[in-house]
Symmetry: C2
Subunit: 150 residues, 2 copies
Amino acid sequence: MAGAPREREESLDVIQRELTAFARRARAAAARLHPDLPLVSYTLLAHIDHRQGCRATDLAAHYMLDKSTVSRQVATLEKLGLVERHPDPDDHRIQVLHPTTAGVRALASTQASRRAAYRERLGEWTADDLARFAEYLLRYNATGDGTDPR
Amino acid sequence: MAGAPREREESLDVIQRELTAFARRARAAAARLHPDLPLVSYTLLAHIDHRQGCRATDLAAHYMLDKSTVSRQVATLEKLGLVERHPDPDDHRIQVLHPTTAGVRALASTQASRRAAYRERLGEWTADDLARFAEYLLRYNATGDGTDPR
DNA sequence: AAAGTTAGTTGTATGCTACAACGAATAGGG
DNA sequence: CCCTATTCGTTGTAGCATACAACTAACTTT
Protein backbone atom coordinates (compact mmCIF):
# COMPACT_ATOMS: atom_id res chain seq x y z
CA MET A 1 0.00 0.00 0.00
CA ALA A 2 3.01 2.22 0.35
CA GLY A 3 4.04 2.11 -3.25
CA ALA A 4 0.58 2.91 -4.51
CA PRO A 5 0.96 5.75 -6.93
CA ARG A 6 -0.04 9.16 -5.83
CA GLU A 7 -2.15 9.41 -8.94
CA ARG A 8 -4.73 7.25 -7.27
CA GLU A 9 -5.08 9.74 -4.45
CA GLU A 10 -5.49 12.54 -6.89
CA SER A 11 -8.12 10.71 -8.84
CA LEU A 12 -9.92 9.93 -5.63
CA ASP A 13 -9.90 13.58 -4.68
CA VAL A 14 -11.25 14.62 -8.01
CA ILE A 15 -13.94 11.99 -7.90
CA GLN A 16 -14.92 13.03 -4.44
CA ARG A 17 -15.00 16.70 -5.28
CA GLU A 18 -16.91 16.29 -8.48
CA LEU A 19 -19.44 13.89 -7.07
CA THR A 20 -20.03 16.30 -4.23
CA ALA A 21 -20.48 19.19 -6.59
CA PHE A 22 -22.89 17.16 -8.60
CA ALA A 23 -24.90 16.12 -5.59
CA ARG A 24 -25.06 19.70 -4.46
CA ARG A 25 -26.32 20.96 -7.76
CA ALA A 26 -28.65 18.09 -8.34
CA ARG A 27 -31.48 19.48 -6.31
CA ALA A 28 -31.55 22.78 -8.11
CA ALA A 29 -31.25 21.10 -11.47
CA ALA A 30 -34.00 18.65 -10.70
CA ALA A 31 -36.29 21.40 -9.51
CA ARG A 32 -35.81 23.16 -12.82
CA LEU A 33 -36.59 20.03 -14.78
CA HIS A 34 -39.94 19.24 -13.21
CA PRO A 35 -41.23 22.11 -11.14
CA ASP A 36 -44.62 20.47 -10.91
CA LEU A 37 -43.67 17.13 -9.44
CA PRO A 38 -42.51 17.39 -5.80
CA LEU A 39 -38.96 16.52 -6.78
CA VAL A 40 -38.17 13.80 -4.34
CA SER A 41 -41.41 12.14 -5.11
CA TYR A 42 -40.32 12.02 -8.70
CA THR A 43 -37.33 9.95 -7.76
CA LEU A 44 -39.41 7.55 -5.77
CA LEU A 45 -42.02 7.31 -8.48
CA ALA A 46 -39.32 6.52 -11.00
CA HIS A 47 -37.99 3.77 -8.81
CA ILE A 48 -41.43 2.34 -8.20
CA ASP A 49 -41.91 2.26 -11.92
CA HIS A 50 -38.49 0.85 -12.67
CA ARG A 51 -39.05 -2.15 -10.48
CA GLN A 52 -42.63 -2.83 -11.14
CA GLY A 53 -44.18 -2.96 -7.73
CA CYS A 54 -42.09 -2.45 -4.67
CA ARG A 55 -42.55 -1.86 -0.99
CA ALA A 56 -41.93 1.33 0.92
CA THR A 57 -39.15 -0.39 2.78
CA ASP A 58 -37.36 -1.13 -0.47
CA LEU A 59 -37.42 2.53 -1.34
CA ALA A 60 -36.06 3.45 2.04
CA ALA A 61 -33.23 0.98 1.71
CA HIS A 62 -32.38 1.94 -1.83
CA TYR A 63 -32.15 5.64 -1.14
CA MET A 64 -30.99 5.39 2.46
CA LEU A 65 -34.04 7.20 3.72
CA ASP A 66 -35.95 6.81 6.91
CA LYS A 67 -39.17 4.91 6.55
CA SER A 68 -41.09 7.87 7.88
CA THR A 69 -39.77 9.99 5.05
CA VAL A 70 -40.78 7.42 2.51
CA SER A 71 -44.15 7.05 4.14
CA ARG A 72 -44.87 10.74 3.71
CA GLN A 73 -43.53 10.89 0.20
CA VAL A 74 -45.63 7.95 -0.83
CA ALA A 75 -48.64 9.54 0.82
CA THR A 76 -48.02 12.63 -1.31
CA LEU A 77 -47.71 10.56 -4.44
CA GLU A 78 -50.93 8.80 -3.61
CA LYS A 79 -52.71 12.08 -2.94
CA LEU A 80 -51.56 13.26 -6.34
CA GLY A 81 -53.02 10.13 -7.84
CA LEU A 82 -49.70 8.94 -9.19
CA VAL A 83 -49.30 5.84 -7.09
CA GLU A 84 -51.59 3.11 -5.85
CA ARG A 85 -51.09 0.83 -2.90
CA HIS A 86 -52.19 -2.75 -3.04
CA PRO A 87 -52.01 -4.77 0.13
CA ASP A 88 -50.03 -7.93 -0.31
CA PRO A 89 -52.47 -10.84 -0.04
CA ASP A 90 -49.89 -12.99 1.74
CA ASP A 91 -48.81 -10.40 4.26
CA HIS A 92 -51.16 -7.69 5.29
CA ARG A 93 -48.43 -5.48 6.65
CA ILE A 94 -47.01 -4.96 3.21
CA GLN A 95 -48.34 -2.53 0.67
CA VAL A 96 -47.15 -3.07 -2.83
CA LEU A 97 -46.73 0.18 -4.69
CA HIS A 98 -47.57 0.67 -8.33
CA PRO A 99 -47.66 3.73 -10.53
CA THR A 100 -51.13 4.63 -11.74
CA THR A 101 -51.83 5.46 -15.34
CA ALA A 102 -51.46 9.10 -14.45
CA GLY A 103 -48.23 8.24 -12.71
CA VAL A 104 -46.83 6.56 -15.77
CA ARG A 105 -47.90 9.50 -17.88
CA ALA A 106 -46.35 12.07 -15.57
CA LEU A 107 -43.21 10.03 -15.46
CA ALA A 108 -43.02 9.76 -19.21
CA SER A 109 -43.35 13.48 -19.76
CA THR A 110 -40.79 14.28 -17.12
CA GLN A 111 -38.56 11.54 -18.36
CA ALA A 112 -38.67 13.08 -21.79
CA SER A 113 -37.52 16.54 -20.76
CA ARG A 114 -35.03 15.00 -18.44
CA ARG A 115 -33.63 12.84 -21.15
CA ALA A 116 -33.44 15.84 -23.43
CA ALA A 117 -31.39 17.69 -20.87
CA TYR A 118 -29.03 14.78 -20.54
CA ARG A 119 -28.84 14.41 -24.26
CA GLU A 120 -27.86 18.03 -24.63
CA ARG A 121 -25.33 17.76 -21.90
CA LEU A 122 -23.81 14.53 -23.13
CA GLY A 123 -24.44 15.00 -26.81
CA GLU A 124 -20.79 15.33 -27.67
CA TRP A 125 -19.79 12.15 -25.94
CA THR A 126 -19.05 9.06 -27.93
CA ALA A 127 -21.28 6.06 -27.38
CA ASP A 128 -18.23 4.35 -26.00
CA ASP A 129 -17.59 6.97 -23.38
CA LEU A 130 -21.22 6.99 -22.40
CA ALA A 131 -21.23 3.26 -21.95
CA ARG A 132 -18.11 3.35 -19.87
CA PHE A 133 -19.32 6.23 -17.75
CA ALA A 134 -22.58 4.38 -17.14
CA GLU A 135 -20.67 1.29 -16.20
CA TYR A 136 -18.48 3.20 -13.76
CA LEU A 137 -21.48 4.72 -12.10
CA LEU A 138 -23.14 1.35 -11.78
CA ARG A 139 -20.04 -0.10 -10.30
CA TYR A 140 -19.63 2.82 -7.95
CA ASN A 141 -23.18 2.66 -6.68
CA ALA A 142 -23.24 -1.10 -6.45
CA THR A 143 -20.13 -1.31 -4.32
CA GLY A 144 -20.99 1.11 -1.65
CA ASP A 145 -23.70 0.09 0.67
CA GLY A 146 -26.09 -2.67 1.32
CA THR A 147 -28.80 -0.63 -0.29
CA ASP A 148 -30.12 -3.53 -2.20
CA PRO A 149 -28.51 -6.75 -3.19
CA ARG A 150 -29.28 -6.64 -6.87
CA MET B 1 -30.83 11.93 -35.15
CA ALA B 2 -32.86 9.00 -36.32
CA GLY B 3 -30.02 6.61 -36.82
CA ALA B 4 -28.48 7.26 -33.43
CA PRO B 5 -27.98 3.89 -31.81
CA ARG B 6 -30.34 2.88 -29.11
CA GLU B 7 -27.39 2.03 -26.94
CA ARG B 8 -26.82 5.70 -26.36
CA GLU B 9 -30.30 6.05 -24.96
CA GLU B 10 -29.76 3.13 -22.66
CA SER B 11 -26.50 4.51 -21.40
CA LEU B 12 -28.14 7.85 -20.84
CA ASP B 13 -30.87 6.22 -18.83
CA VAL B 14 -28.41 4.34 -16.71
CA ILE B 15 -26.34 7.45 -16.13
CA GLN B 16 -29.41 9.39 -15.19
CA ARG B 17 -30.69 6.74 -12.85
CA GLU B 18 -27.39 6.12 -11.15
CA LEU B 19 -26.54 9.77 -10.73
CA THR B 20 -29.95 10.32 -9.22
CA ALA B 21 -29.51 7.44 -6.84
CA PHE B 22 -26.14 8.79 -5.86
CA ALA B 23 -27.45 12.27 -5.26
CA ARG B 24 -30.24 10.87 -3.17
CA ARG B 25 -27.94 8.86 -1.00
CA ALA B 26 -25.31 11.50 -0.76
CA ARG B 27 -26.96 13.37 2.05
CA ALA B 28 -27.28 10.37 4.28
CA ALA B 29 -23.77 9.23 3.50
CA ALA B 30 -22.32 12.66 4.15
CA ALA B 31 -24.16 12.92 7.43
CA ARG B 32 -22.57 9.66 8.51
CA LEU B 33 -19.11 10.84 7.57
CA HIS B 34 -19.08 14.04 9.56
CA PRO B 35 -21.96 14.22 12.00
CA ASP B 36 -20.41 17.20 13.69
CA LEU B 37 -19.98 19.53 10.76
CA PRO B 38 -23.30 20.89 9.45
CA LEU B 39 -22.97 18.90 6.26
CA VAL B 40 -23.66 21.52 3.67
CA SER B 41 -21.29 23.84 5.40
CA TYR B 42 -18.65 21.21 4.97
CA THR B 43 -19.02 21.38 1.24
CA LEU B 44 -18.76 25.13 1.23
CA LEU B 45 -15.81 25.08 3.53
CA ALA B 46 -14.07 22.62 1.26
CA HIS B 47 -14.66 24.84 -1.70
CA ILE B 48 -13.47 27.93 0.13
CA ASP B 49 -10.36 26.05 0.97
CA HIS B 50 -9.88 24.62 -2.48
CA ARG B 51 -9.85 28.01 -4.08
CA GLN B 52 -8.02 29.97 -1.52
CA GLY B 53 -10.26 32.90 -0.81
CA CYS B 54 -13.53 33.26 -2.61
CA ARG B 55 -16.66 35.30 -2.38
CA ALA B 56 -20.07 34.16 -1.29
CA THR B 57 -21.33 34.81 -4.78
CA ASP B 58 -18.81 32.38 -6.19
CA LEU B 59 -20.09 29.68 -3.89
CA ALA B 60 -23.65 30.37 -4.90
CA ALA B 61 -22.78 30.15 -8.57
CA HIS B 62 -20.70 27.02 -8.19
CA TYR B 63 -23.32 25.08 -6.32
CA MET B 64 -26.36 26.70 -7.89
CA LEU B 65 -27.54 27.99 -4.56
CA ASP B 66 -29.39 31.15 -3.69
CA LYS B 67 -27.23 33.83 -2.20
CA SER B 68 -29.41 33.86 0.89
CA THR B 69 -28.66 30.20 1.45
CA VAL B 70 -24.96 30.80 1.12
CA SER B 71 -25.18 33.79 3.38
CA ARG B 72 -26.68 31.71 6.15
CA GLN B 73 -24.30 28.83 5.67
CA VAL B 74 -21.33 31.13 5.78
CA ALA B 75 -22.73 32.76 8.89
CA THR B 76 -22.88 29.33 10.47
CA LEU B 77 -19.33 28.56 9.46
CA GLU B 78 -18.20 31.85 10.91
CA LYS B 79 -20.06 31.23 14.13
CA LEU B 80 -18.29 27.90 14.37
CA GLY B 81 -15.02 29.69 13.92
CA LEU B 82 -14.14 27.82 10.77
CA VAL B 83 -14.22 30.71 8.35
CA GLU B 84 -13.16 34.32 8.41
CA ARG B 85 -14.41 37.17 6.29
CA HIS B 86 -12.06 39.84 5.11
CA PRO B 87 -13.57 42.84 3.39
CA ASP B 88 -12.03 43.46 0.03
CA PRO B 89 -10.08 46.71 0.28
CA ASP B 90 -10.98 47.65 -3.29
CA ASP B 91 -14.66 46.95 -3.01
CA HIS B 92 -16.39 47.15 0.32
CA ARG B 93 -19.34 45.12 -0.82
CA ILE B 94 -17.21 42.05 -1.18
CA GLN B 95 -16.14 39.79 1.63
CA VAL B 96 -13.35 37.45 0.85
CA LEU B 97 -13.74 34.15 2.65
CA HIS B 98 -10.88 32.17 4.11
CA PRO B 99 -10.77 29.08 6.26
CA THR B 100 -9.39 29.69 9.73
CA THR B 101 -6.79 27.46 11.27
CA ALA B 102 -9.58 25.57 12.97
CA GLY B 103 -11.34 25.37 9.63
CA VAL B 104 -8.34 23.84 7.95
CA ARG B 105 -7.96 21.40 10.79
CA ALA B 106 -11.62 20.37 10.75
CA LEU B 107 -11.42 19.97 7.02
CA ALA B 108 -8.33 17.83 7.23
CA SER B 109 -9.81 15.45 9.75
CA THR B 110 -13.02 15.12 7.79
CA GLN B 111 -11.13 14.83 4.58
CA ALA B 112 -9.20 11.95 6.02
CA SER B 113 -12.19 9.86 6.99
CA ARG B 114 -13.87 10.80 3.78
CA ARG B 115 -10.90 9.73 1.76
CA ALA B 116 -10.76 6.50 3.67
CA ALA B 117 -14.36 5.79 2.79
CA TYR B 118 -13.68 6.45 -0.85
CA ARG B 119 -10.56 4.36 -0.74
CA GLU B 120 -12.48 1.46 0.67
CA ARG B 121 -15.22 1.87 -1.86
CA LEU B 122 -12.90 2.26 -4.80
CA GLY B 123 -10.05 0.13 -3.57
CA GLU B 124 -10.56 -2.56 -6.17
CA TRP B 125 -10.48 -0.18 -9.05
CA THR B 126 -7.43 0.09 -11.22
CA ALA B 127 -5.65 3.41 -11.32
CA ASP B 128 -6.65 3.60 -14.93
CA ASP B 129 -10.32 3.24 -14.22
CA LEU B 130 -10.11 5.78 -11.44
CA ALA B 131 -8.45 8.28 -13.70
CA ARG B 132 -11.01 7.76 -16.39
CA PHE B 133 -13.91 7.96 -13.99
CA ALA B 134 -12.52 11.19 -12.58
CA GLU B 135 -12.12 12.57 -16.05
CA TYR B 136 -15.68 11.68 -16.98
CA LEU B 137 -17.01 13.38 -13.89
CA LEU B 138 -14.98 16.48 -14.60
CA ARG B 139 -16.23 16.54 -18.13
CA TYR B 140 -19.77 15.97 -17.04
CA ASN B 141 -19.75 18.74 -14.48
CA ALA B 142 -17.88 21.15 -16.68
CA THR B 143 -20.29 20.86 -19.57
CA GLY B 144 -23.50 21.44 -17.82
CA ASP B 145 -24.07 24.89 -16.57
CA GLY B 146 -22.46 28.24 -16.43
CA THR B 147 -21.56 27.56 -12.84
CA ASP B 148 -18.12 28.95 -13.23
CA PRO B 149 -16.11 29.58 -16.30
CA ARG B 150 -12.98 27.81 -15.31
C1' DA C 1 -50.68 -17.67 23.79
C1' DA C 2 -46.57 -14.50 24.92
C1' DA C 3 -42.64 -12.41 23.21
C1' DG C 4 -40.22 -10.75 19.41
C1' DT C 5 -39.91 -8.92 14.69
C1' DT C 6 -41.30 -6.30 10.64
C1' DA C 7 -44.17 -2.69 7.95
C1' DG C 8 -45.91 1.47 8.08
C1' DT C 9 -47.85 5.97 10.28
C1' DT C 10 -47.80 10.11 13.05
C1' DG C 11 -45.75 13.68 16.26
C1' DT C 12 -42.09 16.69 16.61
C1' DA C 13 -37.95 19.13 15.57
C1' DT C 14 -34.47 20.58 12.47
C1' DG C 15 -31.85 21.63 8.19
C1' DC C 16 -31.65 23.50 3.66
C1' DT C 17 -33.60 25.98 0.41
C1' DA C 18 -35.88 29.66 -2.41
C1' DC C 19 -38.09 34.06 -3.16
C1' DA C 20 -38.79 38.69 -2.02
C1' DA C 21 -37.72 42.94 0.11
C1' DC C 22 -34.19 45.39 1.70
C1' DG C 23 -29.44 47.98 2.72
C1' DA C 24 -24.96 49.21 1.41
C1' DA C 25 -21.41 49.99 -1.97
C1' DT C 26 -19.97 50.86 -6.51
C1' DA C 27 -20.26 52.23 -11.47
C1' DG C 28 -22.08 55.12 -15.31
C1' DG C 29 -24.19 58.77 -17.42
C1' DG C 30 -25.85 63.32 -17.85
C1' DC D 1 -21.43 66.25 -9.15
C1' DC D 2 -26.11 64.01 -8.51
C1' DC D 3 -29.31 60.12 -10.23
C1' DT D 4 -29.86 55.84 -11.70
C1' DA D 5 -28.05 50.97 -12.63
C1' DT D 6 -26.01 47.12 -10.99
C1' DT D 7 -23.79 44.15 -7.61
C1' DC D 8 -23.03 41.95 -2.99
C1' DG D 9 -24.84 40.63 0.82
C1' DT D 10 -28.57 40.07 4.87
C1' DT D 11 -33.07 39.23 6.88
C1' DG D 12 -38.08 37.85 6.79
C1' DT D 13 -40.94 34.29 5.58
C1' DA D 14 -42.41 30.00 4.00
C1' DG D 15 -41.98 25.23 2.35
C1' DC D 16 -40.00 20.77 1.49
C1' DA D 17 -37.20 16.83 3.04
C1' DT D 18 -35.50 14.53 6.58
C1' DA D 19 -34.52 12.05 11.00
C1' DC D 20 -35.74 10.14 15.47
C1' DA D 21 -38.94 8.36 18.59
C1' DA D 22 -43.23 6.47 19.91
C1' DC D 23 -46.93 3.97 18.31
C1' DT D 24 -50.29 0.42 15.87
C1' DA D 25 -51.01 -3.52 13.18
C1' DA D 26 -49.60 -7.90 11.37
C1' DC D 27 -46.86 -11.73 11.11
C1' DT D 28 -43.30 -15.28 13.43
C1' DT D 29 -41.19 -17.96 16.90
C1' DT D 30 -41.11 -20.54 20.78
